[in-house]
């Protein structure tokens, strides 16, 4: 399994290590350049000082006014220098005692700029040399003072000289090695320190993540009302918290629906069984009581019929949902079918003093399964008649529209609210939480919805000014 902490630590370490290596290399190269430059500057300064000691005397001879060179001592790095001076005709003018009979490589320098190079010193050490051309200055006249820089001795040749000064770079190399070792050491220790720091920082940084995970782990079906505090979570986790809260909203809604569904189904299925059970048991307790026995028998029959209806509806719903319900499409006159179905509800409507208004266009033919159409209309009219308040109004309207036949069933309403509308087509949903209406199990509209989907009939329910409940069915026209 991927660990964000491990992934983050490894990536950070990899990149930091690379960065440290590159920075270390850059630092070393820069320092090396600076140190060599300083070394060269010092070497050049020495070479210039040495060149300044070479003077052309009044008699035309060239002299090097150098104090007695001390004999070089081993390990005296600063003093361990070698030089040679040539004239531009190739004649050797002067050589340091340290060279003995050995020679320094003679560079060919055209310009007046000094040239630096590495070389192997006569004693075998690794060294660095500077080569420079110079014009030996004239010896100053005690009477006229120092001559100008470009003054020459008349009647005497004024040769250019080439000076090569070499010095051991042992000290420089040692410094460079120390520098390299220090940078490498730091380069190795730094990632180790960073690894520990990164590990700690990442762990601290991901603590919010751990807290969130622990909070999520506590969630179960009994704590679905819990919501994650957006204000308390880090900005990066805010979208996660929002998504989790949205998810919890949906899960809670689903759980509430599921709980209600299981409570409703328990009530609808267990109550008639309990009734049957109690009726029969009590009848068996009083075998000689004919009235009780007769009552038990008739009630048992009524219960079995009620359960048969319930089971048939459930099976029809299941068949519709699984697509196993066969469709036998026929051309039906919607108005005529409405009248036939209404006939079976008319008596109940009259008993409840309902006022029914008809506005049904003739010859409205629709292509439907006749059984399903009758079931749909029967359920809708039964609901309208039973749920309409006593003395209320029913409105049945059917007319042809563009490519569709519209059926509108409307009844007065004093119980349903806007928030009930999304639940109307859910199985077993009833407005009365006590489910006291024995004639309705809450499956009618679910079945209407399922059959409507099979027939391609669009069904919608709405409340008009909270006083009228309207169900609208849009059938495809037969020739559309």
């Amino acid at each position: 399994m991927k660990s964000i902490r491990r992934e983050l630590t490894l990536k950070l370490l990899r990149r930091l290590f690379l960065l440290v290596m590159v920075l270390g290399a850059l630092l070393y190269l820069t320092m090396r350049r600076v140190l060599i430059h300083d070394f060269d500057s010092a070497l050049l300064a020495k070479a210039r000082s040495l060149a300044a000691l070479v003077q052309q005397e009044r008699n035309g001879s060239i002299e090097l006014e150098l104090a007695d060179e001390p004999a070089p001592r081993k390990n005296d790095v600063a003093r361990f220098e070698y030089f040679e001076i040539w004239f531009d005709d190739g004649q050797l003018f002067k050589r340091s005692k340290s060279l003995g009979e050995r020679e320094l490589p003679r560079p060919s320098i055209e310009s007046s700029k000094a040239s630096f190079s590495d070389l192997t010193l006569p004693d075998g050490d690794w060294g660095r040399a500077v080569g420079m051309n110079f014009l030996p200055p004239l010896d100053p006249d005690p009477e006229t003072g120092p001559p100008s820089a470009n003054a020459i001795m008349p009647h005497h040749p004024h040769p250019r000289a080439l000076l090569v000064l070499a010095q051991s770079r042992q000290g420089l190399d040692r410094t460079l090695v120390h520098l390299l070792l220090s940078i490498t050491g730091c380069g190795l220790l730094f990632p180790l320190g960073i690894a520990l720091t990164v590990r700690r920082v990442v762990r601290q940084g991901l603590q919010a993540n751990d807290r969130l995970a622990a909070e999520v782990a506590l969630l179960d079906s009994h704590h679905l009302e819990h919501r994650f505090s957006i204000a308390a979570c880090p900005t990066e986790l805010e979208p996660v918290c929002r998504c989790l809260n949205d998810l919890l909203d949906r899960i809670e809604t689903a759980f509430v629906r599921e709980r209600r569904f299981s409570d409703d189904i328990a009530h609808e299925l267990r109550t008639p069984i309990a009734e049957l059970h109690a009726l029969v048991e009590v009848a068996l307790l009083c075998p000689e009581n004919k009235a009780i026995n007769q009552k038990a028998l008739s009630e048992s029959l009524a219960i079995s019929r009620q359960m048969e209806r319930l089971v048939s509806t459930l099976l029809a719903l299941a068949r519709c949902a699984s697509g196993d319900q066969p469709l036998l499409l026929e051309s039906m006159d919607l108005g005529q079918t409405l009248e036939q179905i209404w006939a079976s509800h008319q008596e109940q409507a009259a008993r409840r003093a309902l006022v029914c208004t008809w506005d049904v266009q003739p010859d409205l033919r629709v292509q439907v399964d006749p059984t399903m159409l009758r079931s749909i209309l029967n359920n809708l009219l039964s609901n309208a008649v039973d749920h309409c308040p006593e003395g209320g109004q029913l409105f049945i309207q059917a007319h042809a529209g563009s490519g569709a036949v519209h059926l509108i069933l409307e009844n007065s309403n004093d119980t349903l609210r806007e928030e009930d509308l999304p639940h109307l087509f859910e199985p077993f949903w009833q407005k009365d939480k006590a489910r006291a209406a024995a004639a309705h199990s809450g499956l009618g509209l679910s079945l209407v919805g399922a059959m409507g989907r099979l027939l391609g009939v669009t069904i919608s329910a709405d409340l008009i000014e909270r006083e009228r409940f309207q169900v609208r069915l849009d059938f495809k026209r037969e020739n559309a």
Partner: protein, 225 residues
């Protein structure tokens, strides 16, 4: 013993009511929570059998309100809700027992009997006094080992006196616990019932186990000669 049945299913009201009456219980029936609350607040019941999904006021609200009023009557919840969470909730809210529909009627009766025993601090189902013995489970009464043939109401009266033996029980208490709202007890109905019961339980020539305390009521106790 008087039982209140709060149940919206008319068939269950009738079946359970009839069955309990056959067992000698006085049974009042309420069809919704509001009515049930009114009955429970107006009368003294030994046990209330309460459905949860009730019109007007749901069963849990009825339960809560009764407990808030300090009513200690034993309440048995009888419902189709079978989830553990529902059972736990019902019991935690103050119910004494929980029975899920569909139920065995004899189990309901047994649970009601157990609640009544619990209400009177009695553990055994066998009660003895002098030559009299009662088996509250089988609802059998015997005198010197011979079974007696009592009507359900006579049995209920005797059981009530047995559970309060040594205590003086007023006529009105007997009326409240033995007769339900369907019976309008006449002024001498309790006296007549006591008289009939004495004839059946007392030994010929011996002092009656049920004694009258003039102006106060009746007491069931063994008379020491």
């Amino acid at each position: 013993m008087r039982v209140l049945l709060v149940e919206d299913s008319i068939r269950l009201q009738e079946a359970v009511g009839t069955g309990l009456r056959e067992f000698g219980y006085a049974v009042d029936i309420a069809g919704d929570g509001e009515e049930g609350l009114w009955y429970a607040e107006s009368n003294e019941y030994d046990v209330i059998v309460l459905d949860l999904m009730l019109p007007k006021v749901d069963g849990l609200t009825v339960l809560t309100r009764l407990r808030e009023q300090g009513k200690t009557v034993h309440i048995l919840i009888l419902t189709a809700r079978d989830k553990v969470a529902d059972r736990v909730r019902g019991l935690q809210m103050g119910a004494d027992d929980y029975l899920i529909k569909p139920f065995d009627f004899m189990e309901l009766v047994a649970r009601i009997q157990a609640l009544i025993r619990r209400a009177h601090g009695v553990k055994s189902t066998q009660l003895h006094l002098a030559h009299l013995a009662i088996n509250t489970t089988a609802r059998l009464v015997s005198r010197q080992g011979e079974p007696l043939n009592l009507t359900p109401r006579e049995y209920a009266l005797l059981e009530f006196l047995f559970l309060h033996r040594g205590e003086v029980i007023s006529r009105s208490e007997i009326e409240h616990h033995i007769y339900d709202e369907r019976v309008e007890p006449m002024s001498n109905v309790v006296d007549s019932a006591i008289c009939g019961l004495r004839r059946k339980i007392d030994l010929p020539g011996a002092a009656s186990l049920i004694q009258t305390r003039r102006g106060m009521g009746y007491i069931l106790e063994e008379r020491v000669p």
